[in-house]
Amino acid sequence: MSLLLGFAYGLAAVGLIAGGAVIGVWWERKVAGRIQLRLGPQQLGPAGVFQMLADVPKLLFKEDIVPYGADRPTFRYAPMLVFAPIAASVAVVPFWAGWAPLDSVVGVAFFLAVPSVAVLGMLLSAWASHNTLSTIGGMRAAAQMVSYEVPRTLAVLSVVVLAGSLQPTEITGAWRWWWVPLTAVGFLVYLIASVAEMNRGPFDLPEAESELVAGYFADYSGFRWAIFMMAEYGSMIAAALFGTALFLGGPAWFAGVGGLIAYVGVACVIITAIMWAKWTFPRMRQDHLMTFCWTVLTPLALVQLLVAGAVAVWL
């Protein structure tokens, strides 16, 4: 029974991420378009909403190219390894007050640890592509994702300390409004580190279009390429939802459907902000990125943790 339920949850998560990616891509194109004095998609449907519906079949039917010299099995299945952990991480998001698809007592640890497996998929796909640019992109991705795990974890820890639990439903249950000013820095660090984790601009070095063409997935086409895109958008959705739940209390505001709508709405605003940053700032350089991580974000997260810890002890 629980197996069946798990299967249903899995399907729902994939559906959520796929649907979210479709809407996210459309929305990103609209946002980027407006920032750049353009209209974005406009031909299909009102404001071009059906553009992505046309793009999905296009991606499905595109030729699945495996480059000459690539390690075929690895090349083929590496995208799954990127996508699956990110899809899995959605399981612990507390959508409803007191309810998450997988209401684990170590949910926070699950959320922070499981997506990190994706870095293996990126490295594998980069290596399997038999392409120097991809390899460099994969190496960058590994270095970046491993490094940014640290500030991200530290930032989340401040909330964990305050709530005294690793279970996301419990954290949202324990949430109080004054956590927001108290953990503001932590939330910022969490957001920045999450953006770096999901390889989005201005931290999109692994796929740096102007340097590495598309980095680790430069040689992918068709639907395998789309899986990478879905992984990116999935990770953005998961990070926004999870961050909103932990730092802003998400589903704890209102009970019932209203709570869910408000929660998802705020997450969408955060997603938009992430997109906005991508289209506003230039890309950083690898060494600057690392310096930023270790000399700015990590100390900030540590300070946040200390403050949160002090408050927790004082309480």
Partner: protein, 367 residues
């Protein structure tokens, strides 16, 4: 000693500004050697010119620097005029100055925009392109073409300014400096962009001169040299303008020199439009030019300050209707030769930034 990785950037790559192949030797992310392999866009324009009449070469010169076609048109026409002893009406000279300064804006917008896109600031690229579009719209109204203008001709220009063009042009040059300020704040003031470009690819003034660099590349290094002022041609002695200079010769200075040159170009266009009003419309071509020019035997070299630097054309005539030899001294070619010097020791990401700050156009490099 770590293993060296040889990476092949290009010939088809988003950031090579055309079709250039750069063979980069990497130590980790550090470039230990970079060699541009050019010639992918070599169309043999110099050879083709030997088989075309003097007028038919003008469309060919459009294809040299396809971001700044007016310059190649003008440099070529100046060489032809010097060879054939043609005096150009002053109105035509003014129009040439105006279109070429507008072209400088259009070309620098491409340069700044692609330098921004190279660092990932794609939005600035679009802002710059909006300005370029405005210039290109002006050119379209003027000569009916948006990229390859074929406008400056031996003896003058092909068409007079259409009705209302001067007003449109004034509107543009009035709004352009504000747009430049916006780009300056958004891109050149940005902390990430400064970190990406400052101290990257430093070219000192002595090297710039020795390597024959010209244009914004040399001026970014503080080489105070601008043909418009130092070897004045056409109507430039009649205008008041300053030549912006950089101090450090890094990628930032090279890119920002372009931005201020655009502001200066606006000033020149404004003065030129004022002075143009005194000339009778319609006198845009030297009278009595034969349909097929056939200058006497001899050779002539003339150059202008294009958006990329000193663009010269050397023509040799044997008295026929086709030139015996045409050589284009392209600034981008000389500037690109600096890439190995500038990029070595920086990271791969910086190589792209350095290449972007040199702003080569491969139609002109490869000819």
């Amino acid at each position: 000693m770590s293993e060296r990785l040889v990476v092949n950037i290009g010939p088809s790559h988003p950031s090579t500004h055309g079709v250039c192949r750069i063979v980069v030797e990497l130590d980790g992310e550090i470039v230990t050697h970079a060699e541009p392999i050019i010639g992918h866009l070599h169309r043999g324009i110099e050879k083709m010119a030997e088989n075309r009449t003097y007028l038919q070469i003008v469309p060919l010169t459009d294809r040299l620097d396809y971001v700044g076609s007016m310059y190649a048109n003008w440099a070529y026409c100046r060489a032809v005029e010097r060879l054939a002893g043609i005096r150009v009406p002053e109105r035509a000279e003014y129009i040439r100055v105006i279109v070429c300064e507008l072209q400088r804006i259009a070309s620098h917008m491409m340069g700044i925009g692609s330098a921004a896109a190279d660092t990932g600031a794609f939005t600035v690229f679009m802002y710059a392109f909006e300005q370029r579009e405005l210039v290109v719209d002006l050119f379209e109204a003027l000569c009916g073409s948006r990229l390859t203008y074929n406008y400056v001709r031996p003896g003058g220009v092909s068409a007079d300014l259409p009705d209302g063009w001067v007003d449109r042009c004034r509107t543009f040059i009035k709004g352009h400096p504000d747009a430049m300020r916006e780009i300056d704040r958004m891109l050149f003031g940005n902390v990430i962009f400064r970190a990406r470009t400052k101290g990257i690819g430093v070219l000192d003034a002595a090297d710039a001169v020795a390597w024959g660099a010209s244009g914004p590349v040399a001026r970014g290094s503080g080489v105070d040299y601008d043909l418009r002022r130092d070897d004045p041609y056409s109507m430039y002695p009649r205008f008041d303008f300053t030549v912006p200079l950089g101090e450090r010769g890094d990628s930032y200075d090279r890119a920002r020199v372009r931005l201020w040159e655009c502001v200066e170009s606006c000033r020149i266009v404004e003065q030129a439009l004022d002075q143009l009003a005194e000339y009778e419309p319609g006198v845009i071509m030297t009278e009595g030019l034969p349909r097929l020019l056939a200058p006497g035997r001899g050779d002539a070299y003339d150059h202008i300050e294009s958006a990329r630097g000193c663009l010269g054309v050397y023509l040799v005539s044997d008295g026929g209707v086709c030139p015996y030899r045409m050589k284009v001294r392209s600034p981008a070619f000389s500037n690109l030769a600096l890439l190995p010097l500038l990029a070595t020791g920086h990271t791969l990401s910086d190589l792209i930034v350095v290449l972007g700050s040199l702003d080569p156009v491969f139609g002109e490099v490869d000819r």
